[in-house]
Amino acid sequence: MIPESSDFFQHLVNGLSLGSIYALIALGYTMVYGVLQLINFAHADIYMMGAFASYYVSRWMGLEIEPGFYALTMALLTSMLACAVLGILIERLAYRPLRRAPKLNILITAIGVSLLLQFGAQVMFGADPKVFPTLIVDQSLIETPFLILKTLDVTVFAVTLLALLALHYLVYHTKMGKSMRAVSHSTVSASLLGINVNRVIVFTFVLGSCLAGIGSVLVGLKYPKIEPLMGVMIGLKAFVAAVLGGIGSMSGAVLGAMIMGLSEEFVVAYLSSTLRDALAFGLLIGILIWKPSGLMGKNTIEKV
């Protein structure tokens, strides 16, 4: 089937907006991996909790009555706050006691935390899906024969871009960001230089969780159905995106997420929608066998 050009641009926009949501979540994985060498399986569920927090707060404050900039900002802030607090709690209670334990134990703990959040959310919020409130009115901004740009897609791009710029500033232009990069380079030498490693790790969890919180609100706006297991698949795909770009590398995570978003959109559009979930892992296995360090990861040489 030859893709029609009008469809092509529309899928491009959709793919990019999906990719930017993946990017927000993938950055959390890649940053935590950078400082702790841990796959934070609970990250996807922190994201789910953020969606529920902003759902309840916007219902409570009646944000859907008056959709617009204020409503969106409030939802984003509550979600970021909730995710950050949850991230700190998880790091403090579950991961810190295991800092010196074998890697496998920490991985199992991460899976345990993830399951705890999933099933805890099912008990607290119920397993049935809830409809996320409309916080901005979705209307066409630009209409051409080739593509229709809607408010939602523009919002997703704008918020993601702002978040990425803020992240770039925090990581590359502040003292905390510098220590974070130092810890990610080598934990031991960073602590010898007087960096409080535990504080850096907490900071990393806060940053990653905030990004997941932003992502959760954007997903809630774009696909307005939230449920306790919503994090599982998107979390796995975001993780695959992080590995694809080279885990530990932040620009790699964004690149990987965009590739994931675009390829998923085009596979669903032109091949088959059942392949959607297999694609992510197929892509991952291919990249790991062909270039295990990912697209932008550094090659590490094992020394004895």
């Binding site: 579950a94 890697k103 134990n105 099933f119 590995v243 979930d277 297999a278 991952l284 295990p292």
Partner: protein, 330 residues
């Protein structure tokens, strides 16, 4: 009597006695649970070779169970009369075929992916499990999302009822697996596995083919997972792609880690815990009104990892503990 004859003889007598006791003292619900524990133990013992002994982290073991289960289910669907005419022999044949096919899958997955280490390997094996599940969802001859239903269960033989036959059949596989992994890990192969776990570079420099060793443990583990899958198919009578998802893989890994990496008696006990704990917590649900089973299960998982990181038994076996306890007492 010669111990070479005495030990297996004692084992057979033991199985018969335990079977009789279970038959008359326990209700059907608990009988099924015991059979499931034995089935999961077979899969967990296999994974213990990979995770515990060889130190490679695999998160896709449910995929190999799925291969085994679907092989058995499909074979008994296309040869419906075969199992009835051959009694238990046909089941053995199907189980072995299932195990072999799972081992072939294990070889195909293990050879390229075992070059990776640690977290990457975990993710690739997880990915393999997911791809297999999605593939099964899309194959119409294997029932797609419905799976295969009405698989031939274990038969009644003469005066022996269905539980008895299943119990004997699964016990035989259980002890074959236990004996095999036990012998394997206490010989040359076990030392090779351990050397890869402790220091791969050192093992390489001693002239060991570490890739070959890793693939070997992976293939054996897949074979046992295939056997467990085949037992699952005939025991539960339904296989569907959703059963063999990520949760099943996590459960098997939890059995290995909980019991202590490298302890086979530990992972059998952990298999019992993981199977029974959610069932025991069912009564709690009627009191509180919430389904707290999985919440408590995941919480206990985290707490065990924090307070007893080496698992229940570490790398010790129950006989070791018994011996040291007796020595202390004297």
């Amino acid at each position: 009597m010669n111990p070479k004859i005495r030990n297996p003889l004692l084992l057979v007598v033991g199985i018969v006695i335990v079977g009789v006791v279970l038959q008359f003292s326990i209700n059907a619900y608990i009988q099924i649970l015991i059979l499931q524990i034995m089935m999961y133990s077979i899969a967990a013992m296999g994974l213990n070779l990979v995770n515990g002994y060889t130190g490679q982290f695999s998160l896709g073991h449910a995929g190999f169970m799925a291969v085994g289960a679907y092989t058995s289910a499909y074979l008994s669907q296309i040869f419906p009369g075969f199992l009835e005419s051959t009694h238990l022999l046909g089941f053995f044949l199907f189980s072995i075929l299932s195990g072999c096919l799972a081992a072939v899958f294990g070889y195909a997955v293990g050879l390229p992916s075992l070059r990776l280490k640690g977290d990457y390997l975990a993710i690739v094996t997880l990915g393999f499990g997911e791809i297999l599940r999605v593939t099964l969802l899309n194959i119409d001859t294997l029932g797609a999302a419905r799976g295969i239903t009405g698989i031939v269960p274990y038969p009644e033989l003469g005066f022996l009822d269905r539980f008895w036959v299943s119990f004997v059949y699964i016990s035989i596989w259980f002890f074959i697996s236990l004996y095999a992994v036990w012998r394997l890990t206490r010989g040359r192969h076990g030392r090779q596995f351990l050397s890869v776990r402790e220091d791969e570079v050192a093992a390489l420099s001693l002239g060991l083919n570490t890739t070959h060793i890793k693939v070997k443990s992976f293939v054996i583990a897949s074979f046992l997972a295939g056997i467990a899958g085949s037992i699952y198919a005939h025991l539960i009578s339904i296989v569907s792609p959703s059963v063999f998802g990520f949760m099943m893989s996590v459960n098997i890994v939890v059995m290995v880690v909980l019991g202590g990496m490298g302890s086979f008696s530990g992972c059998i006990l952990a298999a019992a815990f993981v199977t029974v704990a959610p069932e025991l917590l069912r009564s709690l649900q009627s009191i509180t009104g919430f389904d707290l089973r999985m919440v408590l299960f995941s919480l206990s998982l985290i707490l065990i990892m924090i307070f007893r990181p080496q698992g229940l038994f570490g790398s010790k076996e129950i006989p070791d503990l018994w011996r040291s306890w007796k020595a202390k007492k004297l």
